[in-house]
Symmetry: C2
Subunit: 385 residues, 2 copies
Amino acid sequence: MPFQPSSMKIISVDDHLIERPNLWLDRLPTKDHEAAPRVVNAGRLDFWVYEDRAEVYGPGLGAAAGRPVEEWSMQGIGMAEIAPGCIDPGERIKDMDIDGVWAALNFPTFSRFAGTRFLEFRDKELALRCVRAYNDFVFDEWCAAAPDRFIPFCILPLWDPKLAAAEVERVADRGARSVGFPDGVETLGLPSWHTGYWDPVFAAAAACDLPLSSHIGTGQRPSPVSKDAPGRRQSGSQVCPANSALNGLGSFVMVTDLTFSHVFHKFPNLKIALSEGGIGWISYIKERMDYVWERQKHWAGVADVRPSSLFDKHFWGCFIDEEVGLRERHAIGINNIMLEIDYPHSDTTWPHTQKRVSELMVNVPDDEAHRIVELNARDLYRFPG
Amino acid sequence: MPFQPSSMKIISVDDHLIERPNLWLDRLPTKDHEAAPRVVNAGRLDFWVYEDRAEVYGPGLGAAAGRPVEEWSMQGIGMAEIAPGCIDPGERIKDMDIDGVWAALNFPTFSRFAGTRFLEFRDKELALRCVRAYNDFVFDEWCAAAPDRFIPFCILPLWDPKLAAAEVERVADRGARSVGFPDGVETLGLPSWHTGYWDPVFAAAAACDLPLSSHIGTGQRPSPVSKDAPGRRQSGSQVCPANSALNGLGSFVMVTDLTFSHVFHKFPNLKIALSEGGIGWISYIKERMDYVWERQKHWAGVADVRPSSLFDKHFWGCFIDEEVGLRERHAIGINNIMLEIDYPHSDTTWPHTQKRVSELMVNVPDDEAHRIVELNARDLYRFPG
C-alpha cells in the first residue's frame, strides 16, 4: 500500500523558533533589563544585545524557508525578511497547515538549540532567570497557542548539573516533553559524561521520563573540515557546504562515545533523540560498534552489553529527507526513527513536505511509515500527554 | 549463485608489514647509521631508535593476528611474540595461503601508513634517503619475494611536494602501483589541499596513473572521543574501543572535504583508495553531499558537478567485514568497493577470511562478488602490470 498521508499526522521533531524581541524584557524584573537579551535596531538589521555582547537577530541560513536557494547567503537578514512563522506561533500553525504538518517540537535560536548561549553569561543568576523565562515562554505563549500541535521542549542551566536537574523537574511538572542536552560537553569546556558530573541531569531526566533532544551543533565541536573549504571564509564561521554535509558527525560521535560509557548502564531509562543527526549512517555504526566490542571488550574493560542493543534502547535517529536511511530502516530500528522538517532552516522540506514524504515512503509499508512520521514521536515524547 | 571462492582470487588492499630491524642499516651509507632507524634490544622488548627518539618495535594491537582476543592489550610485544609473517615476506605468503588470500597491498608500520614518521626527522636529507630506502626495500625484497602476490606500495617525502612528486615518478618507473597520501594534511601541520600546495603530488600521481592509498589515521586527526573513554587511559593514546568504532571518520571527512574542493576538477584522473575507511557510511554521505550541494552551491561557489558523481570517479571504499555496506553496494558503486584483510591488526579476519567472505557474499551475485574481492583491486592498481 502506498503512503497514505490522510491516514496519519506528520510530526516534526525538529523545527526552530526565533525568540520574539521582547521575550526576556516582558518576563524579567526591571533590574535585569540592563543585561538581559533584548533587541536593538541598527538600520537594515536588528541585533540581540545581552550583557556586553551583541549578535544579529536574523541569522542567514537560519531563516531560509520560503526564499529561493539562489538568494541564500550567510549574511544576516532584517526583521522584514524573516517569515512571521519563525516568531509567531499562530503564523507558524498556518505554515504547518500549508505544509501538511500536524505537530512540531521547536528548538530556540538565540538561546541556541540546547540553551548553551547562557553558558556565556558572566552573571549566572541572571542566566538562570533567562533560562526559566524561556521555558515559561514555551509553555505560556508558544505551546499555549496550540497545545495539541506543539511539543513542549525546554532548555537547561548547563553550568550547574544540580540546578539543571532541578529545572528538569520544574519543567516536567509544567508539562515539558523533552529537554535539550548538548551532543558534546567537553568541547563546551565542561566535564565529560564518563565522569559522574552529569549524573544528576541524567537521573532527573530518566525519573521524569523526559527524553533528551541532542541537536547537532550544540556541543560546538570544532569542524574537521579545512579552514580553506569553499564557503568557510564567506561565512566567517564553520558553516560551509562540506561542513553541512558532515552535520551528522556530532550525533555519530555522541552515539559511539556514550554507548561505550557507563551512562546507559547506570540510567537504563535514559532516552536520547539525535536531532538533525540524520539516519543513513546508523546501521553502519551499530554494526561497527559491535565488531569492535567483540574484539576489544576484554582489554578495554567495557561493559558486557552489545552496543547495538544499547542503541536500540536509548537512541532515536531523526531525518529530514533521506532515502538510504529508509532502505536501512530495519537495521536502524523501525521504532527508532523520527521525521523532522527543520523549518525554517536551509535543509527544510517546507512547503513540500507532504509531497516529499510521499515520495520517500513509496517503498515503505504503511504501518512502518506511520511509526516513522508520527507514532514514534508520539510514544517517545508522550504527546499529547 | 553462491560465492564461489575457487573461481576468484581474493586480493587484500590493506595489510601491514613490519620493517625488518636492519632495513635502513643495510641500505644506507655508514655515515647515516648514527641517526637512521635501527633496532636496539632492551630485555623483553626491542625499540626502534632514530635521531634522538625511540619507539617500541612491536606495537600491541598492531600485531594481534593469531592471538586470542582475550590476550590482546595495548602493551608493546617482544620480537618472539610477533608472527614471522609480519616481517618476512616468505612467511607472509604462507599466512596468506592459510587464509586463502592470493595477493595483498602492504602498508609499513614504523614508517607509518603514509610515511609520516619521516616528517618528524630534523635531518630532512636523511629522511629522504630513508623514504627511498624503504621504497627500494618494497621492490627489491618484499615484492621481489612473490611479484604476482604483492602490490608495490610506496611512501613519499611529504615535507616537500616537489620532492614528493619526484619520488612518485621514481617509484612509478620502478613499478609501484600506489603511493600513500595522508587522510588529513592540516592536522600534520601542512597546508590544506584547497591551496595549490599539493598540486605537484596530485599531478604526478595522476600522470603516472598511481592511485593514492589514504589509510585512516595517517592524518593524525585528533580523536573526537572523550579523553575519559574506557581504554583511552590504559592505551596512553587515542586508541580505545569508541575510537576504533569511529575509525572511518578520517575517510568520511576526507571524502567530503576533497569533494567540495578544486582537486578533482583540476586532476580528473586522480584516484584515491580509502584504506580501512569502511564502506557502510558511503551511500549516506553521497546522498547527503548531493542534498547540501543542491541547496548551498549558489552562495558558497562550489563547482557545478554533483558530489556523488565525483565520488564514483575518484574514490574507492575498502572494507574488512561489513554487512551493511554490502547491502548498499549499488548505491556505493559496485566498481568502487575493495576487500581488505588488515593482517596482522586487531580488525583482521585472518585466518578465517575464506569462510567469512563466503558468509558475507551469500546474497551477492558472483559477478559482483568477483569485482569486490578481486577485479576492482586489479583494475585500480593495474595488478599485475
